[in-house]
Amino acid sequence: MLDFLARIGHIFILFLQAAGRLALFAIIAISHCVRPPFYPRLIGRQMIDMGYYSLPVVGLTAIFTGMVLALQAHTGFSVGAESAVATIVVLSVTRELGPVIAGLMVAGRIGAAIAAEIGTMRVTDQIDALSTLSTNPYKYLVVPRLIAGTITLPLLVFVADIIGVFGGFVVATYKLGYNPGGFLGQTWDTLKTDDVVSGLVKSAVFGFIVALMGCYYGYHSKGGAQGVGAATTYAVVSASIMILLFDYLLTALFFSS
């Protein structure tokens, strides 16, 4: 029994240590975000990588999500369906599914790429080489990615929201035979700034999380190709879990009243 408790205690301590290290890493990185030198060129390049090149994959997932929502809403609510379908599609997409699905896709695409790139730089001494060339690796590698992630994901989600609602609209009008004008009118009436803004704030947090986990695991990877592989996996898995966790926390915060 005591042995068992000791084990649990040990795991708990390890967990706290890991959380502490991650928090410390985040604090150091954020403190470097506000002190010069800044690298706007690098931020720009990361934003293009994260945003522009993620558009196809995020757009595709968004359009299917919207389409499925319309279909599910139609079969699930047979009474007063016309208004319900539009309401469900627009609310689910802007508040919840847009940010979460884009966040998860970006975690897979960008979180993995960040961890792999920084991890490879770590195990081939490139990060040490940065230090010997009077360049702070936090500022040069971590900060641009954190800033780009935080700015880019909301932009991406904004586009995903539009595409998602459009997907719902297509299914509702062409497949289910609803009146296009009625659907759009209902969408417009339901749409509230608060919903969209809460979704965008969420996605800024998710973008930060994805970049942070990629940088953290990449920065601390060791042991050659295998270590980089492990770092990539940890980055994606932990970013995905944290996205879902923070999704709940932020939702509770925004809509508690």
Binding site: M121, T124, D125, S131, S134
Partner: protein
């Protein structure tokens, strides 16, 4: 070469988990001197120089640079100190997202804030000094052979003209003629520019050419050090075995029969 001690290392220790790699390194490097560190593979030469520069944190000991203790420096002071160093990493460690010339110019552009055009001119000149033409400057590091990468890394280490340069196996992977060109370059840098250099090598021909002083590391300690011209009369059986490359002697390789 002056008598002033540039780098003084005392009792530096480092372990990785249970594995003791450095067991109390003592080392003095004088200003403008070219020190060569020799020793078997895996004896901790690379770890020694990384600890000395602060890229790794030693578990114990003291490292004084220009008389000031550097162990336990804060991040900002450590960063300033790094400006004194240039390093050629054993695995080259070129930035593969940048073209070759930008790798060489990196310390000038990022560290010194030099204009890109001017930095590029200097980078191409340094590339020339290691036998690489300007067309190489536009390639990406992945397009180069191992020996070419090494030379680019060397050009990068010297480009910002630091006070202390560390060369981790500068001639490994080069043909004998190019190795000699690099040796002469290192001699020139130390003797003409007064740079303090620490080189790690297994190559005795290179050692004889570039060293003012030689230190031999074995089992995490410096077991012999002395002026380069005394290495043949060291009277130390470990050194004798190493410089003559004999399998028999006090240094036992941990090898089992096939």
């Amino acid at each position: 070469m002056s008598e002033r001690v540039k780098i003084a290392v005392r009792g530096m220790k480092k372990s990785f988990g249970p594995k003791l790699v450095l067991d109390g390194i003592d080392l003095d490097v004088r200003e403008g001197e070219s020190l060569v560190v020799i020793g078997g593979s895996g004896t901790g030469k690379s770890v020694t120089v990384k600890c000395l520069m602060g890229l790794m944190e030693p578990d114990a000991g003291s490292v004084k640079i220009d008389g000031a203790e550097t162990i336990g420096l804060g991040a900002g002071a450590r960063f300033e100190l790094m400006r004194k160093f240039g390093m050629l990493f054993q695995g080259a460690a070129l930035f593969d997202s940048l073209p070759v010339w930008e790798n060489v110019a990196f310390g000038l552009i990022q560290g010194r804030g030099m204009a890109r055009r001017q930095a590029k001119a200097i980078a191409l000149q340094k590339l020339g000094a290691v036998g690489l033409g300007p067309e190489v400057g536009e390639l990406s590091p992945a397009e180069l052979s191992g020996g070419m990468q090494k030379r680019v890394a060397l050009a990068r280490a010297i480009a910002a003209e630091p006070e202390i340069i560390i060369f981790d196996e500068p001639t490994t992977g080069l043909d004998p003629i190019m190795a000699d060109v690099i040796n002469e370059l290192i001699v020139k840098i130390t003797h003409e520019l007064g740079v303090t250099a620490i080189s790690i090598t297994h190559d005795m021909a290179s050692t004889r050419k570039i060293a003012d002083h030689v230190a031999m590391i074995y089992k995490g300690r410096i077991i012999w050090s002395g002026a380069a011209d005394t290495i043949d009369r060291s009277g130390n059986p470990y050194v004798e075995q190493f410089i003559h490359g004999r399998a028999e002697g006090p240094i036992q390789m941990e090898i089992r029969a096939l």
